[in-house]
Amino acid sequence: MDIDEHDHVIEVTDLRRVYGGGFEAVRGISFHVKHGEIFALLGTNGAGKTSTVELLEGLAAPASGRVRVLGHDPHAEREAVRPRTGVMLQEGGFPSELTVAETARMWAGCVSGARPPRDVLALVGLERRGGVRVKQLSGGERRRLDLALALLGDPEVLFLDEPTTGLDAEGRQDTWELVSALRDAGTTVLLTTHYLEEAEGLADRLAILHEGRIAAAGTPAEVTAAQPSRISFELPAGYFLGDLPPLAELGVCGHETTGRVVRLRTRALQRTATELLLWARHAGVELSGLDARSASLEEAFLGIAREAAAPRDKEHAA
């Protein structure tokens, strides 16, 4: 076996990528992906997701750091890696004048142990579109064609860069089911997405990238657990924030107000909610727009962006 003893299919150590103009898109990130795992790279546009994935795919060599896919350097040892990986780029690249079947046939000729193109087209629901030119496909169909081609060689490792962008809700659901089925059959999947629910529902583990660094990583539950829960409501007329019990006693660890809307952050949601509602009953007021929610990946995501922005604001102030 050329997979190392930890069974890490993908290993990334202190990876950096610097573009020609000197822009550092990836600033020293490390993570690993285990065999048969779906790993999601999350981040806003420009966070470094695609720059990272391209290094894993072997499209470019890193400025520094180390990438190992199935135990090999995907750039320097491409012959050992490429026949075992499948790639779906963020934007598919197919000649617009070829038909779906012709495109699949071309790809099959470049893939070791390729399955019959018709099989993979059926897998993504394009079996009846074989005679259609690529330029006539919808954006969603093009995405599915791209996925089909990535699956042609039954890859052990699958790289999917924003696989569901441009798909409708149903197409997205279908893709999630397909990717889950592949994982269950032993395929290791690394995907990028900016759909938080996609990462939350699909990924076994994930990393949130922010400005080229990993801001948070772990299982979806671990990442969200580190974040506070949230309660928001509208202050009744005639009441002010100071009329509430001291926020620290409620277990609140942070708050914001926008007009009459109050947002509280807490790590003890039940306690804070109970105390708040008891106060409201005691005062005989109605908290309209009341909303209490546990931390979600979205909270984590927004929290990271907020924390990252905070030090910069201070610098500006100084």
Partner: protein, 275 residues
Amino acid sequence: MNDTGATAATAAPAAARARGARTTATGRMAALARAELTLFVRTRSTLVSAVFVPLALPFSVQSVTDRMKTADAGLTTGLIVLPAAVGFSLLFAVYSTLVGVFVARREQLVLKRLRTGEARDAEILVGAAVPAVVTGLVPSLLLAAACTALLDLPAPHAPQLAVAGLLLGLVLAVALAAVTSAFTRTAESAQVTAIPLVLASMMGSGVMVPLELLPDGVARFCALLPLTPVITLVRGGWTGQLSGAEALRALALALAWTAAAGFAVRRWFRWDPRR
């Protein structure tokens, strides 16, 4: 797409891998060339400029050269038309066509997508170039046959030089097209960026006007143009008038240009669109 389909199709990937035959460089290039040939046939404008221009232009050259004193330079009509046909084929069927093809595939992200797969960089370029090279080669050969039959062209005296010239010319035209594509933003502008080399070669490489008919200083400079040694070898291969030293010099120059173009491709060729 449904559950049963997904399960059935993903059930036996390991077995399929164990059985699956590794692709070969030849197989990959064949698959790419086949797709490219389909695209080539579907793009009518490319087809016209690649097939008809090289076939029609040499005869216009003939009417020009008839009025010149080509006989003084020891050249018959056939020896004007044939190298012209080879030159036009290399310039229009191969070079100009491929600048457009490389740019179009790059801008469609086809090159980038292909690079994620097993095909190596050189295979991707060669696969894309095959249809253009074939359309450059076939009319040249047909014209050689036609010239021999209709214009009393004698059989070549040193066919190995003509063949070497033609082959080096094809490789050079492909490499120069790849270099030019690096400096071309869109498929439309490819028709413009290809002009300088086409014009310079038509005028200065002995395609339309034999170098012997140019003033000495100009001829000496034009002898260094990339396609000049190619045309020299083709014509010299036919006439047998090329001395050993001249033939070696032409071969060396053609090889030097090919090596330089190859280096330039490695250095400047762009696989991604500028975004």
